[in-house]
């Protein structure tokens, strides 16, 4: 099958996803979770029945339970002033039983900007090392470059879609998201190498065939395994997205987005990039 004929279409699909994502990243950025921003921690003394009401009243502040016992409840939430909390507790107090604000503290972020920066460094170094490794393993620079570009493609799709989700659905970026990005990075390269390996093998076996046709044949021969493999992972993630707990829902979604784009990019980004490179620099 002549997969590579439709190269422009694949790049168009990618840019339709990536360009809005980049726009959103630049203009909106991410909605960062309390782990990154810090916030407020407050301890309440209250009757058990009021706990749900309190959580509901604070729902705009994304409260999380830190600890609780029969009459005690400690919550952390995005930055809130003491007065704001007092107002809420007073309102609640009139319904059923008194809610008392026991202590109030400003908490610093668990993960400073430093964590994000260092993770960024790790991404950069990984990209470089992978570029070198793949270039050597496949004995040509174009393989390393295209694989790393496909990896960046997947990272951008994931980052962009969560920036958009943050803006329009209030989805927060937390530590789990960071690990999801790292996971997808590995998956993307893993999947791409399998396609490249087939191209490498065919190039030894089949002579007198244009490079484009060689890539076409390799893609045809690997696409079943690529789909089968991704399906096994996607089954798992869909199950976790639909049935897993609330807190891991978006984590599963991030992995799901990443797996789909990672699978797509191996065939429809990484392989066409090789052909483009070949057309540009290795005219026969």
């Amino acid at each position: 099958m002549n997969w590579m004929k439709y190269r422009p279409l694949y790049f168009l699909i990618s840019s339709l996803v990536i360009i809005p994502g980049i726009y959103s990243l630049i203009t909106f950025g991410f909605k960062l979770s309390i782990e990154f921003t810090g916030g407020t921690q407050a301890e309440f003394i209250l009757p058990d029945t009021q706990k749900q009401n309190l959580l509901l009243a604070l729902s705009t502040q994304n409260p999380q339970v830190v600890s609780e016992s029969d009459s005690q409840f400690t919550l952390k939430m995005s930055e809130t002033t003491e007065q704001e909390i007092e107002q809420i507790t007073q309102k609640l107090g009139t319904v059923s039983g008194q809610v008392k604000l026991q202590s109030f503290e400003v908490i610093g972020p668990v993960l400073g900007q430093e964590t994000l920066k260092k993770t960024g460094n790790a991404l950069l170094i990984s990209s470089l090392v992978l570029l070198i490794y793949i270039s050597f393993a496949f004995k040509q620079f174009k393989y390393g470059l295209s694989a790393v570009l496909a990896m960046l493609h997947d990272t951008l799709v994931l980052l962009g879609s969560f920036s958009l989700l943050g803006q329009f659905a209030g989805v927060e970026v937390d530590l789990l998201f960071v690990t999801a990005v790292l996971t997808i990075l590995s998956f993307s390269v893993h999947d791409t190498i399998v396609v490249y390996d087939r191209i490498r093998e065919l190039s030894h076996k089949v002579k007198n065939v244009s490079y484009e046709n060689l890539v076409n044949q390799a893609v045809s021969e690997t696409i079943v395994r690529s789909l089968n493999n991704s399906l096994t992972i996607i089954f798992m993630l869909i199950a976790m997205f639909l049935m897993g707990g609330e807190s891991t829902k978006y984590f599963s979604l991030a992995l799901l987005v990443g797996t789909v784009t990672g699978t797509y990019s191996s065939t429809f980004t990484a392989a066409p990039l090789l052909v483009v490179w070949n057309k540009l620099f290795e005219k026969k």
Binding site: E105, I107, A122, V189, H190, N229, M236, L237, T248
Partner: protein, 446 residues
């Protein structure tokens, strides 16, 4: 009778499986109790049931709040002192072992506090001792009282600090003394410290030099000769644990401000038990779908690969328990990804097998060829993942890379997952297929 290679491999696999079962299974299985072996390997005690360590998000842990004494600091310095306290405490905990710790600063008016959440800590006293002590190292000359008569021994009245302290250290590590092989801590000075130490030892030959830890003398050797190379050993009557803790504290640096433990309490899982239950159930259903998919798609081969997938799970649990790995959600993500990659090796091999069969080869030949040829791509793909894993794990603790427990925990599970999946996906699957699989040839007449 000599065994063939697959048979030898099978025996090896059975042995590994039995050992992993022994470690993974709970001792008490209702009607049947597994007898425990009374064997110890280092810190691994096989006579007891080994618990899997679960992270803060899954099991909760201990929260320790440290209060600081900032009275000696200017107002403007307090904020940065708190931040550097957080760094030092974080470093100490990271050096203490890979575990997913959450440290945050708490601040209200004039109170500066640090909240440390430690997952699955069993010995909270040791943890508190580790994070809460100042660990300032100071070299000093002992001062003795004047002796009035020859019979009276000189008594120690105080110390005169020498110009050498913990900040001149380059590195500290546990060592064993040559004469009695008792644990001690070997220290190495930085360039500045080496010069100072050489000066002190040169001028003080024959005199005692005390090493003070948090103001208390722990050892007071006599200087026998000048030491120009910047190496010294702190010997005291340490246990191995004490020596390790001291080395960790010295490596991480002294706390910038005095602290005391304000409170210590157990905290619930941040994700909630319900969420964990749901995720486990979902993961289980997902796995079941994977197995069904493999069997539908590859028949008997799929069944065999499901067996090696099950073994993969078993070995991984056993490794998590022995290392130990703190299991948290990011870790589970690493695990799931490696499950995907474990299945991938088999899919690659099976697709290859189908191709070779289509090319008209005998099934035995096709099987061996499939394993041989798929190995190339499996090797490169997994090497790439291990590279990423190592950069994230940052084994040499480079400061420009992550040292945070959560990211490292993820990387560790990913690396373990890849290594185990290579074993089960290649060696186990291959052995099982060689012994139990009988294939069909496409067409014998060709």
């Amino acid at each position: 009778m000599s065994l063939s290679k697959p048979q030898k491999n099978l025996i090896f696999i059975i042995a590994v499986t039995l050992f992993s079962l022994y470690i993974s299974l709970p001792t008490d299985l209702g009607y049947f109790k597994i007898p425990r072996l009374n064997i110890k390997f280092g810190s691994l005690d096989l006579s007891k049931e080994i618990e899997i360590k679960q992270g803060l998000d899954i099991k909760g842990g201990v929260q320790v709040v440290l209060d600081t004494d900032m009275s000696k600091l200017e107002d403007i310095d307090k904020q940065s002192a708190l931040e550097s306290l957080k760094d030092v405490v974080g470093r100490r905990i990271d050096l203490f072992g890979v575990s997913e710790v959450s440290i945050k600063t708490l601040q209200n008016n004039n109170q500066y506090r640090l909240s440390i959440e430690l997952p699955g800590v069993t010995d909270s006293k040791q943890a508190i001792a580790l994070i809460g002590e100042t660990a300032s190292l100071q070299f000093a000359y002992p001062i003795f009282s004047e002796t009035k008569s020859a019979t009276e021994e000189a008594s120690l009245t105080g110390f005169n600090p020498a110009n050498l302290s913990g900040s001149d250290l380059k590195r500290a590590q546990v060592t064993f003394q040559t004469d009695d092989s008792l644990p001690a801590v070997a220290i190495e000075f930085n360039d500045e410290g080496t010069k100072k130490f050489a000066q002190i030892t040169k001028n003080g030959i024959g005199k005692p030099l005390a090493i003070l830890l948090d103001g208390f003398p722990i050892t007071m050797p006599n200087i026998e000769s000048e030491i120009p190379n910047g190496n010294a050993v702190i010997s005291g009557s340490f246990t191995l644990e004490e020596a390790k803790d001291l080395a960790i504290k010295l490596n991480a640096g002294a706390l910038p401000v005095p602290v005391k433990v304000l409170s210590q309490k157990n905290i619930p899982a941040t994700l909630g038990q319900e969420s964990v239950q749901k995720s486990l159930l979902a993961g289980g259903i997902g796995l079941l779908m994977v197995v069904t998919f493999m069997i539908l798609n590859y028949g008997k081969m799929g069944l065999i690969s499901s067996v090696s997938l099950a073994l993969y799970g078993l070995y991984t649990v056993a490794l998590y328990k022995t290392i130990p790995v703190v299991l948290s959600l990011p870790g589970i993500a690493g695990f799931l990804l490696s499950v995907g990659m474990a299945v991938d090796s088999n899919i690659l091999i099976f697709e290859r097998y189908k191709e070779e069969i289509r090319a008209g080869r005998q099934w035995q030949v096709a099987l061996e060829l499939a394993f041989g040829r798929a190995w190339d791509s499996i090797k490169d793909a997994n090497a790439a993942t291990i590279i990423t894993g190592l950069i994230l794990f940052n084994p040499l603790s480079w400061s420009f890379l992550n040292t945070s427990g959560a990211v490292r925990g993820f990387a560790l599970t990913l690396i373990i997952g890849i290594l185990v999946s290579l074993f089960t996906g290649i060696i186990v699957s291959r052995t099982l297929l060689r012994i139990f699989y009988k294939g069909k040839n496409l067409n014998k007449n060709i």
